[in-house]
């Protein structure tokens, strides 16, 4: 009964909230508008934007010790999560069945497990760091912690359901993923999409000035 609800209507609902919410957030940001820049450019804004969108993912050597840890943990978490979200066989099968109608190449099982390990390693380090460092303690609000906890729980329940032999475990994983989808557009998790805009805006401004940002 509840299983059917989680598998059916709640999934549709949460996916709708996610898609509509994300689009709505991006549109409201764009609607705020920017004043056109009248200064004579030295370099190209668009190539600056594209460059920064990618180059900001490159390791920043000048950040000190704490920065090193943050960056390495950040890589582990994001790369691991991305890989297991889009290339783990159970996920791809799920997308093929529920959303796209077609599947794509998946990673071998060992790579799936490895990326899960890396993602957990990164997330735990980042979250504990958030709880410990005076800087992040000062900055963090409920949203930051809620986002971390939800992602952690989704990952944890996913890992508990790895045997893929119990419907209950799959449903718990799915339920948490749905809660995450519903929470997503109203939270910091939006940085998944808005980082492209932020890097783009900054890259464009700096690109006009002829600076590789």
């Amino acid at each position: 009964m509840i299983g059917q609800f989680i598998d059916g209507p709640l999934w549709t609902f949460s996916l709708a909230v996610f898609v509509i919410g994300v689009v709505w957030r991006i549109v409201t940001i764009l609607m705020a508008g920017n004043r056109p820049d009248l200064s004579t450019p030295r370099g190209s804004a668009s190539s600056g934007a594209i460059r920064t969108i990618f180059s900001r993912s490159v390791y920043e050597r000048t950040a000190a010790t704490r920065g090193r840890l943050l960056q390495i943990a950040g890589y582990l978490f994001h790369i691991g999560l991305f890989a297991l979200l889009f290339f783990a066989k159970p996920h791809v099968d799920f997308y093929a069945e529920r959303i796209t109608g077609f599947g794509w190449a998946t990673m071998p099982h060992w790579a799936f497990i490895l990326s899960a390990e890396l993602a957990f390693l990164g997330l735990l380090l980042l979250w504990i760091h958030r709880l410990l460092s005076p800087v992040t303690r000062l900055l963090s609000d409920l949203d930051d912690h809620l986002g971390s906890i939800l992602v952690f729980l989704v990952m944890l329940t996913g890992c508990l359901a790895l045997a893929q032999s119990f419907e209950a475990l799959r449903l718990i994983h799915l339920l948490l993923a749905e809660l995450l989808l519903i929470y997503f557009p109203f939270s910091k998790l939006m940085h998944t999409f808005t980082f492209v805009m932020s890097r783009g805006y900054t890259g464009a401004t700096m690109g006009r000035k002829g600076v590789n940002a």
């Binding site: 200064s39 370099g43 900001r56 900054t202």
Partner: protein, 424 residues
């Protein structure tokens, strides 16, 4: 006061554009920007974390631009931006930020934090929460024409000295000249050698140039305090003067923020494009050198290092030119460990040098520059910003170091192939 505060909030509200909305949406509070800020690295006080300096603006953004904020506002759950916030954050926004832009280079989601602080200052200045020193400087700039109270009479006296020393005639208000040169008050008062160097270099390169009696001051206190109207007025004076003289180029002096204000912010402040081009003196010198119009001879044997002024290099895009010039005049040029667009600020930019209250903090964070200098093992520091120069000299004195600070333009002038130069 209440009315002024509300105006301040209104101005702050107007600042929130798509860029700032996306920046706040993207920030995950990772705290990496703290590692880029010399106020944090030298004090380890978490409150100097760059993004934390934006809490007042974030509060407003959250309340008016986010779902939870709007929902909370309906039920009176989240507190609105208060005047106390302005009071509490004033020092963070003005004393502990030099708008150096280092945090903007390091943010993983690409937020231009410096841009946001520059915007937030607009609201603060209107609400009346800005340091006295900067308010006074802005008033003087608007009334007298210079933040340091330098009038054209003072400049004329300095120019007379230069004319006597070099035997060159300095063209004033010459219509149709190619280049109109600006100065910063700091140069007129503290480093008249700069004016002399310019005169000799331009003479040697055969450049048609002039100085306007109506607008010779390049600095812009309005930019630093964050007051759009004041900043626009100061830029407009230069634009009007340049149009009257019908020049092709306006030359920004070594001063860093002057370049940002006239080159990058200016057209946006006055709302139109210029009929002339703005070049930084280093850009011009490098161009002249490349074109062969600037002949240099002999190289200084003393090893030298370069302090990149933030507003010229990181925020201005004049990165390679100072290096090309320095290579032409110095035998040994040692780069600092973090150089170019990742260089560390001297600690006095963004109006901090005009803010007496910030002096102890500014001298404390100078330790970063001190370490950087010591790492190079070089005792001669070349820079290209009059403000950096004075701040560096103060820091060097405070820490009893042996470093000599020299201006790149002056250094270039010393190596001119020209009969008129006076070699010491």
């Amino acid at each position: 006061m209440i009315e002024q505060f509300e105006q301040g909030v209104e101005v702050l509200r107007q600042q929130i554009d798509a860029r700032i909305s996306s920046y706040f949406s993207s920030c995950v509070h990772c705290g990496l920007c703290a590692e880029a800020c010399l106020f944090y690295t030298e004090t380890h006080d978490p409150r100097y974390t760059p993004i934390y300096k934006l809490e007042p603006m974030r509060k407003l953004w959250r309340r008016e631009h986010t779902f939870w904020g709007k929902l909370g506002a309906v039920f009176g759950l989240n507190e609105p931006l208060t005047e106390q916030d302005f009071a509490d954050w004033e020092t963070l926004v003005y004393d502990s930020c030099t708008l150096c832009g280092r945090c903007s280079m390091i943010c993983p989601v690409g937020n231009d934090i410096t841009y946001m602080i520059r915007r937030q200052r607009e609201g603060f200045s209107v609400a009346g929460y800005a340091p006295e020193g900067m308010k006074e400087a802005t008033k003087r700039a608007l009334k007298i024409g210079s933040p340091m109270g330098v009038t054209f009479k003072t400049l004329k006296a300095a120019l007379a000295h230069v004319e006597r020393d070099t035997g060159l005639a300095i063209p004033i208000d010459k219509k149709g000249a190619d280049y109109m040169t600006l100065f910063s008050s700091m140069e007129v008062v503290n480093f008249p050698e700069y004016i002399e160097s310019i005169a000799r270099i331009f003479q040697a390169a055969g450049i048609s140039w002039t100085i306007s009696s109506k607008a010779f001051e390049a600095t812009n206190s309005g930019i630093q305090i964050g007051n759009r109207e004041a900043a626009a007025e100061l830029v407009n004076r230069i634009v009007v003067a340049a149009e009257e003289l019908n020049v092709k180029y306006v030359v920004s002096p070594e001063c860093g923020h002057a370049y940002t204000s006239i080159r990058w912010e200016g057209p946006n402040l006055i709302g139109r494009q210029y009929p002339f081009e703005v070049v930084h003196i280093l850009e011009l010198l490098e161009q002249l050198k490349r074109d062969g119009r600037l002949q240099l001879e002999g190289k200084s044997a003393t090893p030298m290092t370069l302090h990149d002024p933030c507003q010229i290099v990181r925020r201005g895009g004049v990165v390679q030119q100072p290096r090309e010039l320095l290579d032409g005049v110095a035998e040994t040029f040692v780069e600092m460990k973090d150089h170019g667009v990742m260089n560390w600020c001297c600690g006095g930019g963004g109006g901090v040098s005009a803010n007496d209250r910030a002096e102890p903090l500014r001298l404390r964070v100078f330790e970063r520059k001190k370490r950087q200098l010591e790492e190079t093992g070089v005792d001669t520091l070349v820079t290209a910003c009059a403000n950096c120069r004075i701040i560096l000299e103060e820091g060097i004195e405070e820490y009893e170091m042996e470093t000599e600070v020299i201006s790149l333009t002056e250094l270039v002038a010393e190596h001119l192939v020209d009969g008129s130069k006076n070699k010491e």
